[in-house]
């Protein structure tokens, strides 16, 4: 059975054109005008792009299935236009062994909505003491390693991790936080936290580790990726490192380029996230970094938490917010970038960082795997937590009207989202 995407404007790394796309047996079979197939997906007025790739998704399974499962998170991802997500390793048990990594991957295959690419932990149980078996996990297909949720505190261990990673075809991703400086922290350190009497998370705690890891990467030659940059100085450090030729990439989340610490004046724990929401000046710096290529990718840090755990005092509520179903709209609405640049940040650039380029990120060309997103850049919609596919409801954008929505998502040739509805 063939599938045709008709009437859309294709945007991929090769540029723009208005053509139909025929998909057959999971692969792009034809690209041209006036094509037809057994089933038609209307794309008039829509953008047809390579599927999005999220470098930073917490699927919570195994261990925290009350917050999210691989299936519910995959559905949220597909509805957000993603065809691949990197599943963060802070599961219980941790993704630090072949067994757990294979479990997560197979749960992803069973859900069949997106490619679930498990990240490995840098250290056993993310405890920061002993390296995880990089080579063994790399042989099982793991390309990205991180202790996300924790930064690797010990500089010697991080140096060794980088040295050991050389030649394995893997990238180490750091959650940049010197934890000694953030003990008990709830929100950005600054005038807002001072007023609210909440313990502050100083920007220097991020920037020190950004600096340390850039210098370690310069020393060792390892490939590193810096997760969820939140401060203007972090962006500057990465910009300078790239100019020097250090093999570093970086990501930013939609919440870090749309929300500030002022939101915490409501004392609503939905705005508690790690690293914390910062200030307008940081937002401007992150946007500039996304614009000039200093920041390579938009990543969601989709972090589901059940309502009851967020309905706790701010110091006890866990950090994190949903992101998969709102990322595209925020990127379109808030960044002031052209469509090509926006899609690059959501699709082929993160695909390259996760080394998923053979299957994801396009281009939309004959013979390529059919991982395709069709979105209407002008459709306006209002965020209602109860309508999100995630098992949790902790979106900070409740009630916000956004522009741009995914219409169809095709994963390995299978239309898993059609007209904004998940097909399974």
């Amino acid at each position: 059975m063939t599938l045709v995407i008709k009437g859309g404007r294709i945007i991929d790394r090769d540029g723009e054109r208005v053509v139909d796309v025929v998909i057959d047996n999971g692969v792009i079979a034809e690209v041209g005008t006036n094509l037809s197939g057994d089933r038609t997906l209307d794309a008039i007025g829509c953008i047809v792009s390579p599927g999005f790739v999220d470098l930073h998704t917490h699927l919570r399974e195994p261990g925290r299935e009350e917050a999210e499962t691989v299936e519910t998170g995959s559905r949220a991802a597909a509805l957000g236009g993603y065809t691949a997500v990197v599943a963060m390793p802070n599961t219980e048990p941790t993704q630090d062994s072949i067994a757990v990594v294979n479990l997560v991957r197979s749960l992803g295959e069973r859900a069949g909505l997106v490619e679930v690419m498990p990240a490995g932990a840098i250290t056993i149980e993310r405890a920061g003491k002993q390296l995880a078996p990089f080579a063994e996990l790399a042989a099982a297909g793991v390309t990205l390693f991180t202790d996300d949720g924790n930064g690797v505190q010990d500089p010697l261990l991080m140096r060794r991790a980088m040295e050991y990673s050389l030649g394995l075809g893997i990238t180490l991703a750091q959650h940049c936080e010197v934890s000694r400086l953030t003990d008990g922290a709830v929100m950005n350190e600054g005038s807002c936290c001072s007023h609210l009497g909440l313990p502050g998370w100083p920007r220097i705690a991020e920037e020190l580790m950004v600096f340390r890891d850039i210098e370690l990467a310069r020393l060792t030659g390892a490939s590193i990726h810096l997760l969820h940059l939140s401060t203007s100085r972090s962006v500057e450090l990465v910009r300078a490192a790239k100019a020097d030729g250090v093999t570093v990439t970086a990501e930013a989340t939609p919440h870090h380029f749309t929300l500030t610490d002022e939101t915490l004046r409501s004392f609503d724990s939905v705005f508690k996230v790690n690293p914390p929401l910062r200030t307008m000046a940081d937002i401007e710096a992150i946007k500039a970094g996304l614009r000039d290529g200093t920041i390579d990718a938009i990543a969601t840090d989709h972090a589901p938490h059940p309502q009851e755990s967020k309905e706790q005092p701010l110091d006890q509520a866990p950090p994190g917010m949903l992101g998969l179903e709102t990322a595209l709209s925020l990127a379109l609405g808030e960044l002031d970038l052209d469509l090509l640049q926006t899609i690059a940040l959501l699709s082929w650039k993160p695909a390259a960082i996760a080394r998923l380029g053979a299957r994801h990120g396009g281009p939309i060309a004959i013979g390529r795997p059919a991982n395709v997103t069709v979105f209407d850049p002008d459709l306006s919609w209002t965020v209602k937590p109860s309508l999100l596919a995630s098992k949790s409801r902790n979106t900070p954008y409740t009630g916000r009207t956004m522009r741009g929505k995914v219409r169809h998502t095709i994963f390995n040739g299978d239309p898993v989202v059609v007209d904004g509805t998940a097909q399974r």
Binding site: S191, C193, H195, L196, G197, F267, D268, P313
Partner: protein, 309 residues
């Protein structure tokens, strides 16, 4: 006014009207039988998630003098059953019929969270490092009473000394004193100031000696011993030396300078002299006025018009 969560949401006019109402309560408290039926049938629930003796007893006494029914429920946060969220706890108690919650919690913001989950009034009896509005009101009342002032604090110079960073009393007092027109100086080492005081209507100083004798009110905060473990001060000895009310400083205080402290006091640390030898010591009046101020707050939130007999 539905809730009392911060001094900010009260404003100068709100503070002054509560201070006027407190005058009535002081009069009631001076009666042979200090009890009125104003809040008969109203149910006040004190939930103290953090230890407190004086504030809890003060609120209980205030509610009883107005004839409200009062329940007090003390829970260490750690003893709240894991799995029951804060919201569950509040909704459970609310189901028994509550007109006002009086909340003390070690985490900033809890009274705001609770006010989203209940129809009852919420009174903040201290949240984290954030606010303690009834303390600020009783401090304002005590200053007015001791200095025989009516109206605001124009021209008054107040120094607040010590651990501002971790102090809900300081945050509330700064807002209240400044709203009434006082000139406020925060005296502390930089480690005990908040990360930013941008927008605060205050000056700062590290030189207590230059202020002693020049201020009308010397407000000393409690110095918690555990702060030493956080490298915020080298030692209590050095703290007292720089920021304590030592014998030498006490001698240089004018007779009319008020000495205040929110309690409980670390004798020998913030105040290294016998407080009874300080002519301007009004620390005990602060406690006494606490009951009257809390009666005023409860009556303002729950009472009806002229029902105060």
């Amino acid at each position: 006014m539905k809730h009392l969560r911060s001094i900010e949401e009260l404003g100068a006019a709100g503070i002054l009207s509560l201070l006027e109402l407190t005058d009535h309560m002081v009069e009631i408290n001076a009666r042979p039988i200090p009890k009125v039926p104003a809040l008969r049938g109203k149910n006040v629930v004190n939930i103290f998630f953090e230890d407190s003796t004086r504030t809890r007893l003060s609120f209980e006494t205030a509610a009883k003098r107005l004839s409200a029914d009062v329940m007090t429920f003390s829970v260490g946060t750690s003893s709240v059953n894991k799995g029951e969220s804060l919201r569950d706890t509040i909704e459970t108690v609310q189901a028994m019929g509550v007109d006002a919650f009086v909340i003390r919690h070690k985490s900033s913001g809890v009274p705001w969270q609770i006010s989203n989950w209940t129809d009852a009034s919420v009174i903040n009896a201290g949240d984290g490092w954030h606010q303690h509005p009834t303390q600020a009101l009783l401090d304002c009342y005590t200053i007015r009473q001791a200095l025989g002032r009516k109206g605001g604090f124009e021209g008054l110079r107040i120094a607040i000394v010590g651990d501002i960073k971790h102090s809900r009393v300081a945050r509330s007092d700064v807002q209240a004193f400044a709203a009434l027109g006082a000139h406020v100086t925060l005296v502390a080492p930089p480690t005990l100031l908040p990360p930013s005081i941008e927008g605060w209507p205050v000056e700062t100083s590290q030189d207590l000696d230059s202020l002693v004798g020049k201020v009308d009110v010397l407000y000393l905060l409690r110095m918690q011993r555990e702060r030493m473990g956080e490298a915020l001060i080298p030692s209590l000895r050095e703290y007292t030396d720089r920021f304590g009310l030592t014998t030498d400083r006490a001698r240089r205080l004018g007779d009319s300078t008020l000495v205040m402290h929110p309690g409980p006091m670390n004798r020998g640390v913030e105040i290294a002299v016998d407080p009874s030898e300080l002519p301007g010591n009004v620390i005990i009046q602060q406690v006494a006025n606490g009951v009257a101020v809390r009666m005023a707050v409860l009556f303002q939130l729950l009472g009806q018009g002229d029902s105060l007999a």
